[in-house]
């Protein structure tokens, strides 16, 4: 196919040129009915915020331009089929899971997944078989899945329907995807990859292997992260082994019937850009990230890690476009550095956890912004460095699973002060956002360790999300359990 085409973009331009008189929704009618919004977002933008119509195809049942745009995306990502998604990569992840497991089915997955994964299990009632990720205590991060841990889980749960792999992690850590696929397929299990942070694996050179190249069955890809499309747009990729028509039925269970053409066209335009210019784009991103890493490591006290971590298993590969920096040597939690960068230096980074920060580097960066980041980190060291003896060092606490997420989520529950929850079964999620990886998921035991961790994270300024109690002073726990 001709990757320089952008059929959805062409159809929208054609529609704009035709000056159709709108007697359909949306009611702002190309922005004319909402001058303030048009002033803010621009006339061009509002003029393509339109509803499905014959020339623009229909996201729920694509037969023309959306279909062609999806086929182009499938080809660009070496997939058999690709779906344009408008509910974020959360919707891609959930559709991927709902397409493969149903109530009572087992799914093997690492515990350090995004909340969207466990949410999907609450929805469908599948039972998680957690593999505790290997961790690096010095860095305070969870790593990839060890192949031997996967093999053991498969042996112990031969009836599991699927394995979900988080690849790469937010921090850039990759698992041995190919070996995991081989193991799983040998036992008839599907391999689903949460590839939210790996869009660039499909286009850059000298990158970790992508899910489709490794033979995975499905992958959820956040085009809006490294791919450059609009926030909330995403792709769901399927291999030839997957019945795509069934997947579409699953997607339509929860996806809007008014898919935004702003989001859809951004996917089309970004796919074309990646297909045509991806190699150069990600060369530049890698160069920026590598440069920043070297310079930050020269400051001292910071550790910007990279491929030297590779250990052939739980860190099978490292995504060098990720600028992850450990801050413990400075005596500061990642979240503290994150706050200082924004409040004192006007720099917003992707996230800070208890031990690390992640600065997202992309094609939109310039030398001078990289210099500002490095210069600010140097200043933070000069002005804020302190003794690191009281730092909590481990980011990952292995959960004790006492009930399935769905069971606990819908169980009779009661609200208790956080400090009195020890020994009870949690009925809701607790996580730091970002990165949005649960500290507690429904069905897991609340332990003194976890309570201490939540208190510490709150203290350091993390945004704790999930519980009904907005400040997490209370937790919902399962009644009587």
């Amino acid at each position: 196919m001709d990757q320089s085409r952008a059929p959805l973009l062409a159809a929208l331009e054609h529609m704009r040129h035709d000056r159709l008189v709108p007697f359909d929704v949306p009611g702002h009618k190309h922005g004319k009915g909402n001058p303030e919004l048009t002033e803010f977002l621009g006339e061009k933008c509002l003029s393509v915020d339109v509803n499905s119509m014959k020339p623009l195809d229909n996201l729920c049942h694509p037969v023309s331009v959306i279909k062609e745009a999806e086929q182009l995306a499938a080809e660009a990502f070496s997939a058999a089929n690709a779906f344009f998604m408008v509910g974020g990569t959360t919707s891609s992840v959930q559709s991927m899971i709902l397409s493969n497991v149903k109530a009572g089915d087992k799914i093997i997955l690492p515990r350090n997944v995004h909340q969207s994964v466990i949410n999907a299990l609450v929805l469908c009632g599948a039972v998680p078989i957690y593999i505790n990720p290997q961790t690096n205590r010095d860095l305070g991060i969870a790593l990839g899945m060890s192949v031997s841990d996967v093999a053991r889980a498969i042996d112990e749960h031969p009836t599991a329907k699927a394995i979900l792999v988080n690849n790469p992690t937010y921090y850039g850590i990759c698992s041995d995807l190919k070996s995991i696929v081989t193991l799983a397929h040998a036992r008839g299990m599907r391999v689903l990859v949460d590839e939210a942070h790996g869009t660039h694996f499909y286009f850059g050179t000298d990158m970790p292997i992508s899910a489709m190249a490794a033979g995975a069955d499905m992958a959820a890809v956040s085009m809006h992260k490294s791919g450059g499309s609009l926030t909330q747009s995403s792709l769901l990729l399927c291999s030839a082994a997957v019945n795509a028509d069934y997947v579409r039925k699953i997607i339509n269970l929860t996806q809007t019937t008014s898919g935004s053409y702003l989001l859809l066209s951004s996917l089309d335009i970004s796919r074309r850009n990646l297909a045509l210019n991806g190699v150069q784009i990600f060369e530049k991103v890698k160069r920026y990230a590598n440069y920043a890493r070297e310079e930050i490591n020269q400051i001292g006290d910071y550790y910007a890690y990279s491929k030297e971590l590779i250990n052939g298993d739980s860190i099978f590969d490292f995504d060098t476009t990720k600028l992850s920096v450990n801050t413990l040597g400075l005596g500061l939690a990642g979240i503290e550095v994150y706050d200082l960068l924004r409040d004192e230096y006007g720099i917003q980074i992707e996230f800070g956890d208890l031990s690390n920060i992640l600065a997202y580097i992309s094609v939109g960066d310039k030398n001078k912004s990289i210099e500002r980041l490095i210069g600010s980190l140097g200043e933070i060291q000069r002005l804020y460095k302190r003794s690191n003896k009281d730092m909590l060092d481990s980011e990952y606490i292995s959960p004790v699973v006492l009930a399935s997420p769905q069971e606990a989520f819908y169980a009779e529950k009661e609200s208790l002060p956080l400090l009195e929850c020890s020994g009870r079964v949690c009925a809701e999620f607790v996580m730091c956002y970002p990165p949005g990886i649960p500290i507690l998921a429904p069905g897991e035991a609340v332990t003194p360790n976890i309570i201490e961790y939540i208190k510490y994270a709150k203290d350091k300024g993390c945004m704790i999300t999930g519980p009904e109690s907005m400040d997490v002073s209370f937790l919902n726990v399962v009644k009587g359990a």
């Binding site: 001078k368 210099e371 210069g375 600010s376 200043e379």
Partner: protein, 282 residues
């Protein structure tokens, strides 16, 4: 003869124009548009991205005021770093001091220097002194790799957007602090207090510098071709008060030739109009 004018918008509603006899040169470098014009009233002048940088007629004011006030306060200055200054004017003033041993000049855009050397020899003469070392690099990158080294840092920057943006950030000023020794002085181009858009930049620059340096002052000069004509400079130091600590008679004995600066004016330059004081204290 053609009716050619160079115009710069000082605000959306105010335009400053100079009649041009001819455009001498234009180029887009990796960083900016660089143009050189000839005019009857102001002689030859340089613009970057359409903004006036210097004219042969009034550049002496800017270059004298960005250099001599620091030299009067600390005659012992030996090692100087200048950031920006692709035209050479600041160096032309500094090399008048025999006591200065080294001047590192860090300019991001090599093309500005080349073009100034070719078309603006009256300022570019400053590059010819053997004490001047020219380094083409990002200013922040250079200072963040330096510690406790300089007696004086001069930030001769463009405006706080485009390539000069970094030179107005808190991290840049903080890294300058670290690059200065314990008697160090930081002088910077500090924008204008008059038009609100410029004043906002002027205020935030002052706020940032004040949060880092123990002593932080602002002084002024009258520069006809800059917006409103009323221009400010920053004087920040780890040790010196620019008025109480000046060596006026010693400086006058040196016999340095100037056209704008003198030690009486020095006092006046630090005496600011009330509205400017208020802006700085906000």
């Amino acid at each position: 003869m053609d009716d050619l004018w160079f115009s710069e918008y000082h605000t959306d509603n105010v335009r400053f124009s100079i009649k041009v006899t001819r455009q001498i040169y234009q180029e887009k470098s990796d960083y900016q548009w660089i143009s050189v014009f000839d005019s009857k009233e102001f002689g030859r002048f340089l613009t970057l991205d359409g903004i006036m940088m210097l004219t042969e007629r009034d550049e002496f004011i800017y270059h004298e005021m960005i250099t001599h006030p620091a030299m009067v306060v600390n005659p012992g200055i030996k090692n100087v770093l200048i950031i920006g200054a692709g035209d050479g004017g600041a160096m032309r003033e500094l090399v008048k001091y025999k006591t200065i041993e080294n001047i590192d000049v860090v300019e991001i855009d090599e093309r500005v220097v080349e073009i100034c050397k070719e078309y603006l020899p009256k300022t570019a003469v400053g590059f010819e002194d053997p004490r001047v070392n020219l380094i083409y690099q990002d200013g922040l990158k250079f200072v963040r790799r330096t510690q406790n080294t300089y007696d004086l840092i001069i930030v001769d920057s463009t405006d706080p957007f485009g390539p000069g943006e970094v030179l107005f950030t808190k991290e840049f000023y903080g890294n300058c602090y670290r690059a200065l020794n314990d008697t160090g002085i930081l002088i910077n181009q500090h924008e204008s207090p008059f038009y609100p858009n410029d004043a906002v930049n002027m205020q935030s620059a002052h706020r940032r510098i004040k949060s880092i340096f123990d002593m932080s002052f602002v002084y002024q000069a009258h520069i006809p071709t800059y917006p409103s004509g009323h221009w400010l400079f920053g004087f920040a130091s780890k040790k010196f008060d620019p008025v109480l600590d000046m060596f006026a008679s010693e400086w006058n004995e040196l016999g340095i030739k100037t056209k704008y600066y003198n030690t009486d004016l020095h006092f006046g330059a630090f005496a600011l109009p009330t509205y400017v004081k208020e802006l700085l204290n906000e």
